[in-house]
């Protein structure tokens, strides 16, 4: 390949040295990269058109019977019809070769070298061109030389790793010569990033060092808040990860607020960017607390990044990132890459999630679960009427319209009250209380319908008994347990203090099975009112 400077306007061959420069400036692909042998234009295939090889000589030389001319070459052939113009004068053992002969000789020499048939070469990828047929052509460079490489379509497509300009790679293949262009090339069969082993070694070394410091200790892992109001997210502002996190939280726990601290998650400077993003969230939390609004401070932080190559994820193995995660004031959930990707940031995090979406799921509860909890709480809030209320609730849940049915009745009860239709105030108070409860239960039930769908099916039959159950909402349940309502017969007011029932006062005592009339026969002796009952 070493040749003198050809004319500047020489196509293909002559251009090569210039193209070597072009490889670095990227303006133009090298000649061997342009036409692959499945698309070489006809006029460029003939090496004999090479003008800088003494064009005046070539036609004659080409006609010389050179192929098996070893004996004839001993003496200049005087009998040659058209002797070569520049036949070496008196050139013993001189002969003129055809281009293809030289090419073939070089090719054979290369092929004869077993060491070149199976080589591993490390270098930096220069310009890469992919032909229409899908073959990749690229150069491998080091400080002193470069090597043309061909990566055929099938090998390329099955390779997990593509040559990309600027990457350091190790390629495997054989060296051969492409005759029609006279170039020697490395025919690549496999390619992988250089330093793969180095990275693994560095990873293990750093992991051991940080583990020795106790940074990965289970004991220092913090537990996540149950229901964070504000969730800090350190990830790239663009891309699927941020979107996925928003989506998961919006679905599961829309009560929360997400606070994005954008950062660069791959490439040069990404580790520093991640550290800055975490620091921003920490400072924001401090600021919120200092300003007396701690509810705006993130309660938990998600550090996330989508899947990628080992290099892409490398910033999450950076010592600075690990330390920033450990030092963060609130728990950090790390979701980097896919499930198989484990970074040092994952080890350092308080919780490691297999993916960014999983991280989002881990930090917030599911609202349907919480609705069940709420339902349970409201069931218990029913207190002593709990059983009857639960029955009424599921029946009402079956009918969203129960709400509308109940509302007018509650209004009616109020209207009656205003009109003075109910004379017994105690009874009225209890009835309106029950009316309010039923009303509230109706609204409650409408809210809880999605959660209670399963229960609904089971209790569908019970719906038929709705009216009866509602009737049971009266004070009967209380009375059944042995309580009594004591009223003065004179004005119907409930007796709460002994003074309200002086001796001789006539009382009505309501018990579970009915009412009894009573008369107070003595004044309060021990703070209690002995009452003499008589049949009603």
């Amino acid at each position: 390949m070493s040749r003198g400077g050809p004319p500047q306007n020489e196509p293909l061959w002559g251009d090569f040295p210039d193209d070597v420069a072009a490889v670095t400036d990227g303006s133009k692909p090298p000649d061997w990269a342009l036409p692959s042998w499945d698309s070489i234009p006809a006029e460029e295939t003939a090496p004999s058109r090479r003008p800088n090889a003494a064009p005046a000589r070539l036609p004659d030389a080409a006609r010389a019977p050179a192929k098996d001319a070893a004996p004839a070459a001993i003496e200049p052939r005087a009998d040659t019809a058209r002797p070569a113009l520049h036949a070496p004068v008196g050139g013993f053992e001189m002969r003129i070769f055809q281009v293809s002969e030289i090419t073939r000789a070089v090719r054979d020499a290369i092929r004869a070298d077993a060491g070149l048939r199976d080589v591993w070469v490390e270098g930096e990828v220069g310009r890469v061109t992919v032909s229409s047929a899908g073959h990749a052509y690229f150069t491998l460079k080091d400080e002193r030389s470069q090597l043309a490489c061909v990566f055929f379509r099938d090998d390329r497509l099955s390779s997990p790793f593509e040559p990309r300009t600027g990457l350091r790679v190790v390629v495997h293949g054989r060296v051969d010569l492409f005759e029609s262009q006279g170039v020697y090339q490395l025919y690549v069969t496999a390619i992988q990033p250089a330093g793969f082993g180095d990275l693994a070694l560095r990873f293990e070394a750093l992991k051991a060092k940080l583990a020795a410091e106790g940074l990965f200790d289970t004991a220092r892992k913090r537990s996540l808040p149950d229901r964070p109001a504000v969730i800090g997210v350190a990830t790239s502002a663009t891309g699927a990860v941020w979107h996925d996190i928003c989506h998961v939280v919006a679905r599961r726990w829309p009560v929360a607020r997400l606070l994005l601290s954008p950062c660069q998650v791959q490439g040069e400077g990404s580790a520093a960017s991640v550290v800055t993003a975490l620091d921003r969230l920490a400072r924001w939390g401090e600021k919120c607390r200092a300003e007396g609004r701690p509810e705006d401070a993130p309660a938990v932080v998600i550090l996330a990044r989508g899947g990628g190559s080992l290099e892409d994820l490398w910033s999450f193995n950076d010592e600075r990132v690990v330390r920033a995660v450990v030092a963060h004031p609130v728990p950090v959930v790390c979701g980097v890459g896919h499930e198989v990707d484990v970074t040092l940031a994952d080890f350092a995090a308080d919780v490691r999630a297999p993916t960014p979406s999983a991280a989002a799921e881990l930090v917030v509860p599911d609202r349907t679960e919480i609705l069940v909890v709420l339902g349970e709480l409201s069931r218990r809030a029913g207190g002593y009427t709990g059983r009857t209320l639960a029955g009424a609730r599921s029946e009402l849940a079956a009918e969203g319209r129960a709400l509308d049915r109940l509302r007018p009745s509650a209004q009616l009860a109020q209207a009656r009250e205003r009109a003075g239709y109910l004379l017994d105030r105690a009874t009225r108070a209890i009835r309106s209380e029950i009316g309010r409860r039923a009303d509230a239960e109706g609204r409650l039930a409408a809210r809880m319908r999605p959660v209670l769908v399963a229960q609904l099916a089971a209790r569908h039959v019970a719906m038929e008994r709705s009216g009866a159950s509602l009737a049971a909402l009266g004070p009967q349940a209380t009375l059944d347990r042995g309580y009594a309502i004591v009223r003065r017969r004179s004005d119907g007011s409930i007796v709460r203090a002994p003074a309200e029932a002086p001796p001789g006062e006539h009382l009505t005592v309501r018990v579970a099975q009915g009412e009894v009339a009573a008369t107070v026969d003595a004044g309060p002796a021990t703070g209690r009112v002995p009452a003499k009952k008589r049949p009603a």
Binding site: A237, H243, C246, V255, L259, L260, W284, R436, E441, L444
Partner: protein
Amino acid sequence: MSDQTAATPAVDVGSLTFDEALVELQRTVAELEQGGLALERSIELYERGVALHEHCAGLLGQAELRVQRLLEHAAGQLTAVEARSEEEAD
């Protein structure tokens, strides 16, 4: 607990955050279950509990996720700006 529960009815349920409402609901239920309350007080608590429950369920059912973006200014000052449109544009 008693001073908290005595103070809570003054707070409008609608102004509570989900967590505040849920915590109060849990407390209310515990107090109801403890018993020994006057009828009026237990009804009051029960109604408060129902309102709290409704508020919680309403927040969960209707809440729309708020998304903010933390911006850092030249002097290192931080502000959080609403960023809902960005989430939807993605």
